[in-house]
Symmetry: C4
Amino acid sequence: MKKKIETAETIKIIPETTEEAIQQLVMANRILANEGVLDTFGHVSVRNPENRKTFLQARSISPYEVTEEDILEIDFDGNVLTETAMLPYGERIIHGALLNARSEMNAVFHGHPAAVIPFSVTDIPIKPVMHLGSFIYQGVPVYDDYEPDDGMLIRKKSEGERIAKHLGEHRVQLLRGHGCNIVADHLPQLVASAIYLRDNATVQWQALLVGKEPKYISPEVARVAMQMALFGPMPTARSWGYWVARVKANMPDME
Amino acid sequence: MKKKIETAETIKIIPETTEEAIQQLVMANRILANEGVLDTFGHVSVRNPENRKTFLQARSISPYEVTEEDILEIDFDGNVLTETAMLPYGERIIHGALLNARSEMNAVFHGHPAAVIPFSVTDIPIKPVMHLGSFIYQGVPVYDDYEPDDGMLIRKKSEGERIAKHLGEHRVQLLRGHGCNIVADHLPQLVASAIYLRDNATVQWQALLVGKEPKYISPEVARVAMQMALFGPMPTARSWGYWVARVKANMPDME
Amino acid sequence: MKKKIETAETIKIIPETTEEAIQQLVMANRILANEGVLDTFGHVSVRNPENRKTFLQARSISPYEVTEEDILEIDFDGNVLTETAMLPYGERIIHGALLNARSEMNAVFHGHPAAVIPFSVTDIPIKPVMHLGSFIYQGVPVYDDYEPDDGMLIRKKSEGERIAKHLGEHRVQLLRGHGCNIVADHLPQLVASAIYLRDNATVQWQALLVGKEPKYISPEVARVAMQMALFGPMPTARSWGYWVARVKANMPDME
Amino acid sequence: MKKKIETAETIKIIPETTEEAIQQLVMANRILANEGVLDTFGHVSVRNPENRKTFLQARSISPYEVTEEDILEIDFDGNVLTETAMLPYGERIIHGALLNARSEMNAVFHGHPAAVIPFSVTDIPIKPVMHLGSFIYQGVPVYDDYEPDDGMLIRKKSEGERIAKHLGEHRVQLLRGHGCNIVADHLPQLVASAIYLRDNATVQWQALLVGKEPKYISPEVARVAMQMALFGPMPTARSWGYWVARVKANMPDME
């Protein structure tokens, strides 16, 4: 396991080419599988650095199995631009809608971590209860405006637009009885957001059961904590390096 | 771990021969062990495609250890048809009774996942609280009509018939203080049902503790969600492919 | 991982020689470590088949690391009979006292599984809530008569005798704020008891939180379930074979 | 996995040279990662045996990845004395402040185990509920005097001094909505403290939910239990040996 150690100086966080984005996207898939955030279902995407009106995403396959050959280029309406017979995810429309609406964001997560779903079916909102969960300081709205006939899946362009409107300027939204969507500046930040959203939800749930109202972190403090503790260059490089090292140790084909 | 990736087009979901059914059954056993749904106890079966009045099931051995040589052919009364000295599971009668009563179903699960047992000893029914748990939208009845002298095991033909009658047209029944039975169209659907029954129970339990009455998914919506999100061809192929890939990575003899 | 599969017919449950008992004891240690029941602390012992007034137990080392060279022969007063400089466990006195008092039992467990400790510091007794937990149907008393100056450790012969008297005819006792002791007919039964005591405690805790009074299993039914579902020859062989297979897969030196 | 077994006699607990301290520090990092106490974030340090006014600590990297080349020498004001371009942890100031204030202690932990955070945001103090958690018998105060603009991170010398004053003569302090600091005589004791603080918090949380006020361990008994059950030479050697064996089994580069 003698790893080449990468540092804040040497880890490339912002991909400049489609090729670099694909490599990072494969790693993001593997990390989310390896850390138990995604199982069969759920998916991530990244804006194409060479065409900001398209995004990159795996074909219909579990994140655990994704390789570079599985990555498709897709436009915001969900059309697969890659010439291939491979099938895309049904819910790719979420990714197109959010990248279209949030031009300052470049990466999207959709998944179903068990720890967050209880907050989507009760009246208790997720709030930051630990500094590493600070990035949700603007609130986590719960979407509940599903298309009647789509079985709680987001598959139509019109519903994608509703989802985007509901997210607004937030970073995270829950989908009632389903899961959550997250947007981020880049994939390493997206992975950190998915992992610490789950961890914050777990700790908040534990705190709610044992005490009365937990002492939440105020939006003012959380905004600073988000930048310093999680999203700054040093924590971003450190956490991405850590998750990459674990993938390399656990998944022989990624070594 | 460079895996040959199988897709919705190439994965065979419905076995056509006894041989194919045996191979799929071994894999189903290993998946349920690998995903932590079954430990020593519990078992799965599949209807024999070459004789719909018999089923295939491992001899008395943990699902973790099952190989092709361990599979027996058994009739609905529990008689072992394979010429062998190997011993069958005591509770094989469950499988015969349910396959007999439910001719449209081809696979049966019996197990004791910890997350579901609390719902068998309290007055709170399991209900779908997340879209991947939608397949239980018709309700999950709790059986509590044990034979007095059988130590809560289902071993007599007459009790097998009571079990089948109690299940009725449902897909899942709990056994009070014991575990659950599940029926499905085929083994990949059965495995998905067992895994997401557990996950739905976990999330429902978490939601019940933190909130008041959770917002359950209505039967109408759940019926559609079941087909689109979990039981349709694409999610079936994706999830089975994922669980197979994890077995191959974790169990060297299955590579 | 092509395992030689052992069956109810071929697995030897009752050791006849000291050598056989030592081999089984090493495996019991490894299983309890591998299944997460014991960490650094806690220990198991087995009565010496060649001298029923002594028992076999590892030197002061974690169960995870135990090998045949680490096994000591000890008398019921805690004297180490093996000629060695190796140090015994401080709490070996528990094992001597229980084997002395319970001549029909041949194996003793002492450990601190997290799931059982809450029941030792509250007024709620552990009771069978699932059929695999039936073996505690006679009740699980909580010991709270510690020697004032021994820091809650059981190290004096007089306290060993109090422990044995407190256990009486039960199979399991909790030690307040500390852990539990278990006695069994043989090591495979002891391992099964330790694992399913933990699992029953987990499920009981989950049931207590979500419902009102759970439906416990009556002593009459539990007595039968214990024999049929867990302690009979077939479940004993199946579960021991399963745990051995997992040790062999996870611990290269035990292959 | 044939391990060279180390015993209370052969395991060196107190390093005498900088080199020995570095080796032990690398192992402590790996243990805390391997046992799930630290993820990306959090860090440990040890006083330099060759210069008691400095300490040793990894550069800004996850504990999972730390090797001997990553260790820096740092003074109590946070100045990096090692000639290197490698970046230190932002919160190294905690370690300097606590080692400066507590001259009898030689090792410091800062981390964010999920099990303890609920106790930092509710009114319920962590107390010893199991004998292995006895070392917190003097109480666990909760720090809540953060610098307004530092995002809940401890980065200024003045705040380090407040942290040290708040800790006083305790061994553990929580940081509200953030995590905990622990001091110990040496690294093996520090690792044991971090692991059993987490385990005690878990059991206490479980006990609080299921019962009324748990029976806590009195300070008088706990003080003795701490020495006999966890911090004495035999349990120290046994537990460190165990955690080292697990690192060697799981991390090929540490074999």
